[in-house]
């Protein structure tokens, strides 16, 4: 498609012909106030907030429904356009309750931002004259609706119609009394909580995050959801209150057009809870907490004892770095290593959009690194094993064998348990169901510092380099040359 050149204020930009003016501005980092437009949804043009002045046109035009043309000259900051925007924002705020102190959206609210930019600072309407509507209505699926804060941009309505295909949010009423309401129980077909991100104001908020923390305190890491093989790109939002531990408060989808677009499923979004709670934080031997040095000496004695048959199992939940470290570790001690099996396949979880049946985030990585995944060889080896080194696997073992477990959460049936950092506390690479290599990094800090699996195994074999990223970068390319240039 051919490109056209246009001028926006003092910037000269080139963009593909036919693109929407607002998208060109957003892609180039230019500020343009808007409520109803969203990249993932079709232009609607109902909020009228994105008014710009286009040379040759009599009246202000909306940027969200205007395709760009060659030689177009656009102005966004002239006094008359500022006056237009101020007037539109005044109408949006006509019946707004201005309850920012108790609104979870405060800090990431479009109304707040635009008010600072083009706000009418002396209201024409007294607070007592405002129209009141329903507040804190629990719609279900962790979504809370506040009709007074709504600007009726209908992003949520369009999302449930066009994307989630559930069509259970509608606009009812007329004029100033129009409100968003749910038809029956709001489910969003398992994608309901995306409307919380889509809502530019505090009308739709999450009951899971409700009053948990103020958003400006949260630190955000770029990570990958480990809930299924799709590997949706996410933000990990975490914060440690004074004297408290670093806690994950919410997961939000991070834009990646190749994988998840702007969205993620509700199951993935709630999955952060298991990273906060019920974690394995110190080594255990026979159910009792003990020191790392004691556990290490026991483990080394077992590894050096050639009379015992040892077998290792590894799950596809680990990053490529961790899988490679397990492989190197087992090769060094000549322990047969087997990979995951059917346990994490859950056909009922799959749907037509993002969710896939494979609940493990890195099965493709496991296979790429050449780890044996055949169930027959594994079961035969397990039946003869006296000690099983279990790297986060969940296979049931015969009662004969002793389980040495490396994992993030306690295991009820393990002789020895070694705590390992979860994905929110380390960084690594995963390969998703479409064979896309993705990087994640997390910086959640536990009060007890947890090592990632590759660093822990490095300590066991006294290899300092195992804790470093460049070593694994080189080793992974060595093990799987097809990863060259994809890490």
């Amino acid at each position: 498609m051919s490109n056209v050149t246009l001028r926006i204020d003092e910037h000269t930009l080139t963009a593909p012909k036919g693109s929407l003016l607002i998208q060109v501005m957003l892609d180039n980092g230019l500020s343009i106030p808007h409520f109803c437009y969203h990249e993932a949804l079709e232009a609607d043009g109902n909020c009228r907030m994105c008014m710009v002045e286009i040379e040759g046109q009599k009246r202000p035009q909306i940027a969200c429904n205007t395709p760009i043309k060659e030689g177009m000259i656009v102005r966004t900051t002239t006094p008359s356009i500022m006056q237009t925007k101020r007037a539109i924002l005044e109408l949006e705020l006509r019946n707004h309750p201005v309850d920012c102190p108790i609104c979870d959206q405060a800090g990431e609210c479009s109304l707040q931002e635009y008010y600072m930019e083009v706000g009418l600072y002396d209201a024409h309407v007294a607070k007592s004259d405002k129209i009141h509507k329903a507040k804190h209505v629990d719609l279900g699926s962790h979504v809370v609706l506040d009709q007074e804060r709504c600007v009726l941009c209908q992003r949520c309505v369009r999302f449930v119609h066009d994307k989630a295909k559930s069509a259970d949010l509608v606009v009812t009423g007329r004029g100033a009394t129009s409100v968003i309401s749910a038809v029956g129980a709001f489910t969003g077909n398992g994608y309901a909580m995306n409307v919380v991100d889509l809502c530019p104001v505090g009308a739709l908020t999450s009951s899971d995050f409700r009053f948990a923390q103020r958003v400006w305190f949260l630190q955000s890491d770029a990570s990958i959801c480990h809930g299924c093989a799709r590997g949706c790109n996410i933000h990990l939002d975490h914060h440690a209150i004074k004297g408290g531990i670093d806690t994950l408060y919410r997961l939000r989808p991070r834009k990646n057009s190749a994988v998840n677009g702007h969205f993620m499923c509700d199951t993935g979004r709630i999955s952060y809870k298991s990273l906060n709670e019920n974690r394995l934080l110190e080594p255990h031997v026979e159910g009792h907490a003990t020191s790392f040095s004691h556990t290490f000496s026991l483990l080394r004695r077992t590894l050096d004892d050639k009379s015992q048959t040892i077998v290792a199992l590894v799950s596809p939940h680990w990053s490529l770095e961790n899988l490679a470290s397990v492989k190197l570790f087992c090769a060094r001690f000549e322990i047969p290593l087997f990979g995951a099996h059917e346990a994490s396949i859950e056909p009922s979880f799959a749907d037509e959009w993002l969710r896939v049946a494979d609940r493990a985030p890195n099965r493709a990585g496991l296979e790429l690194l050449g780890i044996d995944v055949s169930p027959h060889a594994r079961d035969r080896a397990l039946s003869r094993a006296q000690v099983v080194l279990d790297f986060g696997h969940d296979a049931t073992l015969s009662s004969m064998s002793t389980r040495y477990y490396f994992g993030t959460h306690p295991h009820s049936d393990a002789q020895m348990q070694l705590p390992v950092a979860a994905y929110s506390e380390e960084s690594g690479h995963l390969i998703n169901c479409d064979n896309i290599v993705q990087h994640y990094s997390g910086s959640v800090k536990r009060s007890e510092p947890l090592l990632s699996l590759h660093a822990l195994l490095g300590l066991l074999v006294m290899e300092g380099a195992w804790a470093t990223q460049p070593f694994w970068h080189a080793t992974l390319i060595d093990m799987a040359p097809s990863l060259e240039g994809r890490l």
């Binding site: 309750p97 309850d99 108790i102 804190h136 009053f211 948990a212 103020r214 004074k242």
Partner: protein, 175 residues
């Protein structure tokens, strides 16, 4: 990067020879010394704690308190403005949903560490609900342990203000 040369003053011999300025300083110090030692009854002294100061003004920033609404319930809505504005980060808040129907949000925990507080009053400035004030005129805080200086929500609510009105005066900041 440009530099701006500031002209240096005090180049005369009298100014560079600092003993003359020293002499002026000593004259003030010894002036007070002799005046007080010759007439000890005239020294301006407050016999604290038998005599309490009576010159604390309404602007004085003392111990904090949390105000009440007209119905006697807590005025604070746990918006975190005070904690955000606090330069000493001495305010710890945990919010919860309020279920009595008066408001939607309230603090479950509201603690001020007085050992960390610098009594700047920024929390009072930031509050949109007039829920926190420093108008108690309490200037003396004592305790036997560090933990005694962490004031809880209940203690802050029980602390009385020194002036009327004692209730939150916020109008329409929230409902």
């Amino acid at each position: 990067m440009s530099t701006h040369i500031v002209p240096r003053h005090g180049k005369s011999f009298k100014e560079r020879w600092y003993l003359s300025a020293l002499w002026v300083g000593f004259r003030t110090t010894f002036g007070h010394f002799w005046r007080n030692i010759l007439n000890t009854n005239a020294i301006d002294v407050l016999e604290y704690p038998e005599v309490m100061p009576n010159d604390i003004t309404a602007r004085y920033r003392g111990h904090h308190r949390l105000t009440h609404r007209d119905d006697g319930s807590i005025a604070c809505v746990a918006c975190f403005m005070c904690a955000t504005n606090c330069p000493a980060q001495c305010i710890t808040i945990e919010a919860q949903a309020r279920i009595d129907g008066i408001d939607e949000k309230e603090p479950r925990r509201f603690e001020i560490d007085l050992l960390e507080c610098i009594f700047c009053g920024y929390c009072v400035e930031a509050c949109p609900c007039d829920a926190i004030r420093m108008d108690t005129n309490i200037f003396s805080m004592v305790g036997n342990a560090r933990s005694d200086f962490i004031r809880t929500k209940e203690q802050l609510l029980a602390t009385q203000g020194a002036y009327a009105p004692t209730h939150s005066q916020a109008k329409g900041a929230h409902t």
